[in-house]
Assembly symmetry: C2
Homo-oligomer: 146 residues x 2
DNA sequence: TTCGGTGCAAACTCTTTGCACGACG
DNA sequence: CGTCGTGCAAAGAGTTTGCACCGAA
């Protein structure tokens, strides 16, 4: 579900940084945009490999880094000492409920909380560039099983 | 700043899990409680080493894990693919503003946001056991330098 | 033609684990 | 005394990097 404007945005970002719009980078963007859920760097590498697209793991990491900097992808973490990513461009911001038992992740969004964040930033003189709000607990299923 | 009740809590937790209250575990708890800010596992290991307290890195990791499970310490992460910890027992919950340029971390707390979280959990059938709310951005100093 | 990009493998960082010995309960 | 904990070093997992070749601009 890669919309063309994301490609354009990527290309423009690369130009602004005097970097190149290579086929590898485009393949990576196209592949990750087809995944609506969060994913790991290595997942993405494997998916590309399985499709017969030749890119190295190093290039996947390097490109994810660029995509995060450009704001097209966001990096999230679920307390596992490894990075997860989400395609983010043109998608409404959301946060996560994470089940500590089955690792299920549910998205939520709350505009009141978002507003409060802005107030907090003002209070501390911060200029917010992003945020991550994670609630850990037991999901409905795991509560029942308990 | 280790209050005695934290030791008691730790001892009770260990007993409840049929685990032992060893001198190593106590040293680790005492040392980390003297640090008000967040710290890394390795920092803690080095601090103990510098004080001449003999514990292995493995024991530090193993004990931190127990302390987190017991609720005395909390694990936080600042998007660096490694874990940070905070002594948490008897200390008011707070969240973090993280400067993406100088890595400065400022604590904040907001009861309205906390209340909203509970509502969200109800809505999704979650039982909250903890949360982490991080706001990334530029701190006052870094904004000025820009 | 010229930088920047790529793949590969090795290096790195943080964390976990297997094992034999040691000590808390 | 039995079980659980410990140190050590090696293994693991995820990620980064150096280098020689390659290709977008």
């Amino acid at each position: 579900m890669l919309d063309e404007s994301a490609k354009i945005r990527f290309k423009e970002y690369l130009q602004s940084e005097r970097q190149k719009y290579t086929p590898e980078r485009l393949s990576i963007l196209e592949e990750l945009a087809s995944e609506r859920e969060h994913f790991e760097a290595d997942d993405l590498f494997i998916r590309l490999k399985n499709k017969g697209i030749k890119v190295s793991r190093a290039t996947v990491y390097r490109t994810l880094d660029i995509l995060v900097r450009s704001g097209i992808v966001s990096k999230v973490d679920f307390g596992k000492n490894k990075a997860y990513f989400e395609y983010h461009y043109g998608i409404k911001h959301h946060d996560h409920l994470i089940c500590i038992k089955c690792s299920k992740v549910v998205e939520f969004e709350d505009s009141t909380i978002e507003k409060h964040q802005e107030r907090i930033c003002q209070q501390y003189g911060f200029e917010m560039t992003g945020h991550s709000h994670r609630i850990f607990g037991l999901c409905e299923n795991c509560r029942k099983k308990k």
